[in-house]
Amino acid sequence: MVTVLFFARIREQLGIDRLSLILPQEPMTVSRLKQHIVDIHNPDWSDILMADNVIKAVNQEVVDDNHSLKEGDEIAFFPPVTGG
């Protein structure tokens, strides 16, 4: 199982803030996880999750699309940050 979190505009666009998933296969990357989420949930999510400016974090560290996932990971997708 992995936990997937969505924040801010992405959370609102998807209408969901969290998913729990069983990783379908190893090795799994962030990029393939996005496609998997689209496949099993909603084809309309593709544009939202695949957008260039979506930031990906695994276990609370920013990563790129090629990052390898493992059991128990916390994966987050969020838009560019606007704090401060």
Binding site: A8, E61, V62, D64, F78, P79, V81, T82, G83, G84
Partner: protein
Amino acid sequence: MLFSLRLPVVEMTANFSVSVQQQDFDVSAELTLLREQSSQVGAIANFVGVVRDINDQQNVATLELEHYPGMTEKSISDIMAQAAERWQLLGGRVIHRIGKLSPGDQIVLVAVSSLHRGEAFAACEFIMDYLKTRAPFWKKELTPDGERWVDARDSDHSAAERWNYSF
């Protein structure tokens, strides 16, 4: 890619701390704590961010701040640790508010103590620049015309990039 590599782990002392909270903060009280941490403190540079009334020509009635609990605190700690590695600092304090805020409200405090002012100023500005581009917070403006998520500013990325940090 600004976000593509992990930060090295740097040991932080108890003199550096981060809070993400709904309630307001008292700058004097925070600076007093920094002064009392060490008799070596000669300089405290600090920055207070304030909710502005007008942002891109829209009247802001209320601002709502969302964050990523856990990662937000961690990313700010990492940024402070980087600053502590780069400059000789005695202490640091970051407070960032979340939830609903109104124009004129304080949003963020970054305070850094050091022996001399040059290092305190540089570290304070460095932390603030990286917080702006790396700490997971998102602002939503609640205006008379409805809600809208605030867009990230290119100038914030330029500000962070000028530190030439190798990550």
